[in-house]
Symmetry: C2
């Protein structure tokens, strides 16, 4: 590894965080793949739409919420549209823009796959921690996000889920 100027506590924390960074997304992904036939990213796209009014969002807005480039989103949405989980239609107000809307099938998909996903999150993260640690984790990740995303492009999203007190 790269011990360079990190003290033992810092190094221990970093090595473990790095391991979590590898294993946790893989775990979430494979659960969703297995149980719902969706990538975690696919799921995320559908989930964001499911929370939007009318189950509809403009491509640009959706891209921001899922932290993807428009190009990537466009490809993914194309596949999901092919599978009948969502549909695209031109935005009336701005003829450059495209709206993505969940279909009924897509909405059902979210409803049926969300519980399993939440269960995995619980099992791997939440239930592994004490209530106090959950609070600490919230504060720690918040601090890190201020570094990663100083301008808060993403901030609007996660600050919607306000920390208690």
């Amino acid at each position: 590894m790269d011990t360079q100027g990190l003290n033992p506590a810092q190094l221990a924390a970093w090595v473990r965080l790095a391991a979590v960074l590898e294993l946790l997304p893989a775990a979430l992904d494979s659960q969703l793949r297995r149980d719902a036939g969706l990538t975690h990213f696919d799921y995320y796209v559908l989930a964001m739409l499911s929370e939007a009014p009318e189950h509809t969002l403009r491509m640009t807005a959706l891209a921001e919420q899922v932290t993807a480039t428009l190009a990537r989103l466009s490809h993914v949405v194309q596949r999901l549209e092919g599978r009948g989980l969502l549909e695209r239609f031109p935005c009336p107000e701005d003829r450059r823009a495209t709206n993505a809307r969940l279909t009924e099938a897509g909405w059902q998909k979210v409803l049926e796959s969300a519980p399993g996903h939440v269960t995995t999150v619980r099992a791997t993260v939440i239930d592994a921690l004490t209530a106090e640690q959950v609070t600490q984790l919230g504060e720690i990740t918040d601090a890190i996000l201020h570094r990663l995303d100083p301008d808060g492009a993403k901030k609007s999203l996660y600050q919607r889920y306000d920390p208690p007190n």
Copy 2:
């Protein structure tokens, strides 16, 4: 999102952790790509070799350390070999096995790219936290890893960097 049975504190922590899970790997990756022309995974492979005796490891052992399938590793190693950063040679003890060894150029590559990487880790994670939070993060990630990796395949690696006290 999927509020299902998560209380506000849990939800806040999870949403932020999920954001970190997206943004942090991307940040590390793009720094290494830009400054060293390496994927984070490439770097990781080279870094693990650089810590091994003789800068050499068997493919299987290496795969375990970087948490990859042998197939994936094989492809990556092939590219890195093509770039002259490492070399493969048959293992004398077991003729099924292959050893991967860092070349001099590969070793130099690690030496020159490690500082930048550590700087990024500092800037985005360590320096964002108080000393106490670093300790907490270590404990939290450790708890999560016990869930993600109960059998400790990966454990041997990160427990090498023992937590202080």
